[in-house]
């Protein structure tokens, strides 16, 4: 089914996609002329496939559940923010705060993202084939951020229990973020993530892993006088 945003209103298009008749066989949708509009495909909750042909604005595929959304273009701030499950695949670049606060699902970005990718992520898997901007994985709580390119300043600042896998250079680490040794389990996690994004598994050996030094958010008996 084709949905043309030049002919139909954004609200109508989103309503159509948000109220899928589960008995119907219509599961594949295409959106044309997104023209940078905001909140395209926000709040989808059914197992459908939507392809967006062009560039989108803010909060594309926000709060996604179950749907598989493909963007043939760039996305603005907060793509897949607060996603619960499903897959979002961006073929171009993403702006700030990609995958912000998302609880689950997979976000694949073929290009680069700007700052704060995976900010406060809570369980999502994010795979960026290019580089990420500054303060990525800021206060990340859970989930995995895979970066095939480089990272900007203050990577993983105030990170909790999320993992960062990176192949390129890290400009600087944020507070309480440190390099970790990858064990078998971590390697298997990374392998399955690379597989999801169709990246050659032999690349695993080129990745480093970063995580929390657990000095910032854990109670330390030596600091008892500070409380």
């Amino acid at each position: 089914m084709n949905l043309n945003l030049k002919k139909e209103s954004l609200r109508k298009v989103n309503e159509t996609l948000q109220s899928i008749d589960r008995k119907s066989n219509k599961k594949i949708f295409k959106i044309s002329n997104p023209d940078g509009n905001h909140a395209i495909c926000a709040g989808l909750k059914d197992e459908i496939e939507v392809t967006i042909d062009g560039h989108t604005g803010y909060y594309c595929a926000g709060m996604n559940m179950n749907a598989n959304i493909i963007v043939n273009g760039n996305v603005g701030t907060g793509v897949a923010e607060n996603m619960m499950s499903g897959t979002v695949h961006v073929k171009g670049n993403a702006s700030q705060s990609a995958g912000a606060t998302a609880h689950g699902g997979t976000l694949i970005i073929d290009g680069d993202t700007s700052s704060r990718c995976g900010i406060s992520m809570k369980g999502i898997d994010i795979i960026v084939k290019g580089s990420v901007g500054h303060m990525s994985a800021f206060m990340a709580q859970s989930g995995n951020l895979v970066i095939c390119g480089d990272a900007g300043d203050a990577l993983g600042d105030s990170i909790y229990e999320a993992n960062i896998f990176i192949k390129g250079k890290v400009k600087s680490l944020g507070a309480d973020c440190e390099e970790k040794k990858m064990n078998k389990k971590d390697q298997n996690t990374l392998r399955s993530l690379l597989k999801k994004a169709s990246i050659n598994e032999s690349e695993i050996k080129n990745f480093k892993m970063y995580g929390s030094a657990r000095k910032l958010y854990n109670f330390n008996i030596d600091n008892v006088s500070e409380y």
Binding site: G76, S95, Q96
Partner: protein
């Protein structure tokens, strides 16, 4: 919030459509700034002539023209909405002194190729009032304002121009503008409003008058201007963009072989020719990008 836009035409074949392109960009950014709007248009330079963009608070254009022509020889006055474009060979120093005696007129900008228009109201209405669609030129910069730092007045609207053929639009706010204003006033830079952006425009004018390039001046600004901002600055030769090092104010650039467009959001340029095949990127924090002759 505020919306900022800029377009620089590399291919002259689009010069006659500059106003049309900018109209679409401003209209699409109306949601980011519904309080007031303004724009600066750069067209070809007239040798030994100056254009003074003036906001007037009276309808009696004919009388003003008459009064002015008594004081200034060979004067041409064009009236568009509540603005006048006054063309004369008289040099800025002298002419600005004359303007100061006319309480009904306030200068918004001047130079050999710049024209500036700004007005309170929804951007969609403002661009219509000034018939922006009909303008042609080589590059243009626009602003839609959601007021934060000073009142909703024409004075508080962007673009700000504090030097010949210069202009600045700003998305963000500055926190050290009071101190900077004092030091710039001492240096002889004229700043009329209490607005933070006008101080930044004054800062750039001061840098340029010290024979620094626009790029150098904007780089110095990263150290001296405290606050958050995305600036688009125009001169008669072109335009530049810079974002502060935290970069929380958005910007996106689309470049094709024919033009460079900058906007707060991509939707502002979705109507430009062949934009979907343009090179689209977000300016990196703390880096100056410039285009021009």
């Amino acid at each position: 919030m505020c919306g900022i836009v800029g377009i620089y035409l590399k291919n002259k074949k689009y010069n006659s459509q500059l106003g049309k392109f900018l109209t679409g960009m401003m209209n699409n950014m109306a949601t980011r700034g519904p309080d007031s709007a303004g724009f600066a248009i750069y067209s070809s330079e007239k040798k030994k002539k100056y254009k003074y963009s003036v906001c007037s608070n009276t309808d009696q254009v004919k009388e003003i023209s008459k009064k002015l022509s008594k004081q200034v020889k060979d004067i041409k006055v064009k009236s568009i909405s509540d603005h006048l474009i006054i063309e004369t060979a008289m040099k800025p120093k002298k002419f600005i002194e004359i303007l100061k005696n006319h309480d009904e007129l306030s200068l918004v900008g001047y130079g050999s190729c710049i024209e500036i228009f700004k007005q309170v109201g929804n951007p969609k209405d403002v661009v219509k009032n000034f018939s922006l669609e009909k303008f042609s030129g080589s590059h243009a910069i626009g602003h839609t304002r959601m007021a934060t730092e000073s009142a909703i007045t024409t004075d508080g609207s962007h673009p700000y121009s504090t030097g010949e053929d210069e202009c600045l639009v700003h998305n963000g706010s500055l926190s050290n503008h009071n101190n900077l204003r004092r030091s710039l006033l001492k240096k002889g830079i004229e700043i009329k409003s209490m607005n933070d952006t006008e101080v930044a425009a004054g800062y750039i004018s001061n840098g340029l008058s010290d024979k620094k390039s626009l790029k150098e001046t904007l780089l110095d600004g990263l150290k001296d201007l405290d606050g958050f901002y995305t600036f688009i600055s125009g001169t008669k030769n072109g335009m530049a963009i810079v974002r502060d090092e935290i970069a929380c104010k958005p910007a996106v650039v689309a470049e094709t072989k024919d033009y460079v467009a900058i906007a707060s959001e991509f939707q502002a340029m979705a109507h430009l020719p062949n934009v979907n095949s343009a090179k689209i990127f977000e300016p990196e924090p703390g880096k100056v990008y410039s285009w021009g002759k």
